[in-house]
Each structure stands twice: as structure tokens, then as C-alpha cells.
């Protein structure tokens, strides 16, 4: 079994990075690989609750974050500083996550064999 870390750095809907990162996580998960989803910088905006991208004709993939556990993906790590810098807290997020400092996040990242960034 391989392990892959997927880093999200972009906000949702302004680009398709978020959707593509999530698709990769689901595919890797369904092939029984160990997947870690990391959210840093504007990537933390992907996890905001109450997104309604239908208003701008975008697909609402944020609901899929709740389904990650069915793909045995339960490593969802968010950078604490990125969240705080954007006036956000854990209760603004749509899914349970692990909040880590940048250094702790980097240490966790290094435990994965493959790292992909979106």
C-alpha cells in the first residue's frame, strides 16, 4: 500500500483545483491507498460550511468532504495559522479536522511517500 498526501492551497470555485484534489483523494482511497488531505493558505476556504456554488453555476463538491470517511480517508489536516489569519475557527468548517501548527503539519506531511499539491 502506498501513502499519498494531497495539499490544497487554492480557494474553491475560483478555480477547479479543489475539485480535482478531491477527485484524486477519492480515487486513491477507493484503490485502498492511504490518503492524507492537507489544507493550507486559501485552501482552508474549501472546508467552509454553507457554500452555495449553484448560484454561480458551479458544482457543490463541498458536500463530498463529509463522505470521505466512507473512502477510509480520515486524515484531514488544516493549518492553524492559515485559519486564524482568515478570521476562521474550527466551527466554521463542514467536517472534523486536525488543526496543526505549520511545523507540525510539515512533520506529518513528511510521513507520506508521495506528495501532490493543488
Amino acid at each position: 500500500m502506498q501513502s499519498i498526501a494531497i495539499i490544497n492551497r487554492h480557494a474553491p470555485h475560483g478555480s477547479s483545483h479543489g475539485q480535482e484534489a478531491l477527485d484524486l483523494a477519492l480515487v486513491a482511497g477507493s484503490f485502498g491507498q492511504e490518503v492524507g488531505l492537507f489544507f493550507i493558505g486559501d485552501g482552508v476556504f474549501q472546508l467552509l460550511r454553507q457554500q452555495q456554488p449553484e448560484t454561480i453555476l458551479r458544482k457543490n463538491y463541498s458536500k463530498t468532504f463529509a463522505a470521505l470517511e466512507f473512502y477510509d480517508i480520515n486524515t484531514i489536516i488544516v493549518c492553524q495559522d492559515s485559519l486564524k489569519e482568515r478570521g476562521l475557527g474550527e466551527d466554521d468548517l463542514s467536517v472534523a479536522v486536525e488543526l496543526l501548527s505549520p511545523t507540525a503539519l510539515t512533520t506529518r506531511l513528511k510521513q507520506f511517500q508521495h506528495i501532490v499539491s493543488f
Partner: protein, 96 residues
Amino acid sequence: MILHLLRSSPFSALDIAQSLALMDQDDGLLLMQDAVYALQGQDQPWFEQLQQRQGIYILKEDMQARGLSHCPSFIEQVDYSKFVTLTLTFDQVVTW
């Protein structure tokens, strides 16, 4: 009078700081697409400058799409049709 259109996230682009520096009193600034994340910028250096301005607008549809709901009173929420009207009331429109 210029209407400045901002589209990228103020946390990862300098557009907002640069356009604010360029703005006159009677110019306007419209936050759309990822620039609506400026709503989350209370602790950022440029937020105070934004607060002291008139003519700051934000596109409602882009806000809702991103799950942002609380908008401070100094920013006027507009929808797409009001956005079009705005572009006609200003002399020039600058897209950042």
C-alpha cells in the same frame, strides 16, 4: 471616476493593496469572485484602509457561493444586474 474590479483572493494577491493605493475619493471598488474573501480580512493591514473608503461593493452571488454571509455595513452588496449598472455609471472600469 474609476471602478476597480478585484477578482483574486486578497490573501494570496496584492491587488487589493495596490488598487486602494491608486483610488481617489470618488472611485469605486467592487469585490467579486475570490476577492470576496476580503470579508475575512479583519486582521489584515489593508482592511483598515478599506474601511475608510466610500464606494466599496461586493457581488452577492460570489459571496453566497463561497459560504460567506456576514458583510460589514461599509461594503454595499450588489447582484449581477446592479453590477452592470455600476459599470455604466463610472467613467472607466479597471480589471485587476
